[in-house]
């Protein structure tokens, strides 16, 4: 695998950083090199939040994203900020609540009901990050669903295993074309 640069953006409290960690850890478990970083403001909730995962078959020197190959935005702010000036063919995932910014036709665009699925299908808004992880792995094929399940179980808080697996399945089974 060439260097794959995955940027996840949303607001603090949505679990974007944990989603990014799970993707990196799943890649490491699948025998790849991974780097994971994040940037956020001093506030605990609600501020803009961005988390990045780099996956490669080779050792990773520069641990930051330079040209993302994948961008997910869960909020309008995140989409307006990060879904711009991307190279043609970049995979872009927008939550369906987000209005696509201009020029999205040059990207491989997915509009997925991530927040809606978490809140109404899974039943807990806080599982949106795990719904996203399921969908992202379907799109990028980082590892098998079983390996991903194992990683998610290791990383989510005790007592939330069942609902998070439900979320992961919902993300994995999401209609990507819809």
């Amino acid at each position: 695998m060439e260097r794959m640069e995955i940027r996840l953006a949303g607001k603090g409290g949505q679990g974007v950083i944990l989603a990014s960690i799970i993707l990196a850890e799943a890649a490491v478990n699948a025998g790849k090199y991974a780097c994971q970083t994040q940037s956020y403001g001093p506030e605990a909730r609600g501020g803009a939040c961005k988390a990045e995962t780099i996956i490669s078959d080779n050792k990773i020197s520069y641990p930051e994203i330079t040209v993302p190959s994948f961008v997910m935005a869960l909020t309008q702010n995140a989409a307006d900020k990060y879904v711009r000036n991307l190279p043609e063919g970049t995979i872009v995932v927008l939550d369906s609540s987000v209005t696509p910014p201009a020029e999205t036709d040059k990207y491989r665009l997915y509009r997925l009901p991530i927040l809606h699925t978490a809140e109404y299908e899974v039943g807990k808004a806080f599982t949106a990050n795990i719904v996203a992880v399921g969908a992202i792995n379907r799109i990028l094929g980082i590892c098998s669903f079983e390996e991903l399940t194992e990683t998610v179980l290791k990383r989510v808080p005790k007592g939330t295993e069942e609902i998070n697996i439900k979320a992961l399945k919902a993300g994995n089974d999401m209609d990507l074309e819809g």
């Binding site: 090199y33 991974a34 780097c35 994971q36 970083t37 020197s61 520069y62 641990p63």
Partner: protein, 377 residues
């Protein structure tokens, strides 16, 4: 070899410290070092160790010194604003020769600055933050796995040379999670203790490598510990001869053992015609830049000081002289570059790229500057 896992830099620091035998942590949590305090709070009680959150950084540093005097390997972790507050007691540990490890995960300053952004702005502060001519050892890791090994080495050097050692991290490495494969089989150095029976003890007499053998408090050996200039029994004195001898010994115990303390790494330096110098997080930018430059046909290499203080000068001087062109990259406004200039000498062209915005330097910026230098007459 263990299995490859994903680990955060701050987490690796805790693992290294525990492996080295650290059993006391006192601190006042601060971003981006907080995960170190959190990790110690979780792990130390399981091992019979103690974690204490003190009222501030001054007290944390004092508690660390107190714990170490009893023979316990002790550590604190902080970031720039807290590191400033620890300086007075770091000086005390230098003067009284109390081993301890201070981790500074640098963030962007000055003052409280940008709490969640990376920086390398404390490099000179690690050398001269506390007042007076004093010895110091500073190590700077540039990856998560190296953070583990250097934390262990920091404790080893502290115990061997009876001195505070600073592990100079930056947010870039402290908060980075990456693939690591850690070895368990590492050398651990423990503090020397006297063979002599209990009683009055001339603790501050120069021992092997000019390092004194300080009995742990409570062992029954009587001596005094003070931040004042003292005689070999530890008692304060104004005697100029004794003061001069003590201060010289303190500096020489590091100076005369530089070969053992210094460490550095080279990346593709053998045939290099342009030398990049970087350390800690900025070395990750440097390494990527070297690869990019090589692809463009420019024979670049990187020299990475691992022991920042004392600086491993001999090899740097050789490489600078041979290449004639040196490019220093730091996430600050230019601090270590002046040391590099001093070592490289006036005949060598030394360029610099810094960043004080809280962002990381881009490898493309380095490549551009390196190309200018390389093709200049």
């Amino acid at each position: 070899m263990s299995k490859a896992v994903l680990m955060q830099g701050n987490e690796a620091c805790v693992k290294g410290a525990l492996k080295a035998g650290m059993r006391f942590f006192a601190g006042y949590p601060i971003t981006p070092s907080t995960e170190i305090a959190e990790g110690c709070a979780v792990e130390l009680p399981k091992l019979g160790g103690k974690f204490i959150q003190m009222e501030d950084e001054l007290a944390s540093m004092a508690a660390v010194i107190g714990a170490s005097v009893t023979g316990t390997k002790a550590m604190t972790a902080t970031s720039g604003p807290g590191f400033s507050l620890k300086q007075e007691n770091i000086g005390y540990a230098c003067e009284a020769e109390i081993p301890c490890v201070i981790v500074d995960v640098q963030r962007s300053g000055p003052s409280t600055g940008l709490p969640t952004s990376s920086s390398q702005g404390d490099v000179m502060q690690t050398r001269w933050g506390t007042h007076g001519d004093h010895p110091i050892i500073v190590l700077s890791p540039s990856s998560v796995s190296e953070t583990y090994y250097l934390t262990i080495r920091a404790f080893n050097l502290a115990e061997k040379y009876m001195t505070p050692v600073i592990l100079l991290m930056d947010e870039m490495i402290g908060h980075l999670r990456e693939t690591v494969n850690l070895y368990d089989d590492v050398e651990i150095i423990n503090r020397k203790q006297p063979d002599e029976p209990e009683g009055n003890f001339e603790a501050y007499k120069a021992g092997e490598n000019l390092v004194p053998v300080l009995p742990v408090f409570g062992s029954g050996h009587y001596y005094n510990i003070t931040g004042l200039t003292h005689n070999t029994w530890g008692f304060p004195t104004n005697n100029r001869k004794i003061a001069g001898d003590l201060n010289s010994r303190l500096l020489n115990k590091i100076e005369k053992n530089r070969k053992d303390i210094e460490s550095f790494e080279e990346y593709l330096c053998d045939d290099a015609e342009l030398l990049i110098v970087a350390y800690g997080g900025s070395a990750r930018v440097g390494e990527e830049s070297v690869d990019m430059l090589r692809k463009k046909g420019i024979k670049a290499g990187m020299y990475r000081p691992v022991t920042i203080w004392p600086m491993a000068e001999t090899r740097l001087a050789e490489l600078s002289e041979r290449t004639g062109k040196v490019l220093v990259i730091e996430h600050n406004n230019g601090q270590y570059v002046h040391e590099v200039e001093r070592v490289a000498g006036k005949k060598v062209e030394v360029g610099f790229i810094g960043n004080i915005s809280g962002s990381y330097i881009l490898p493309t910026e380095v490549v551009k500057k390196a190309e200018e230098m390389y093709y200049a007459k």
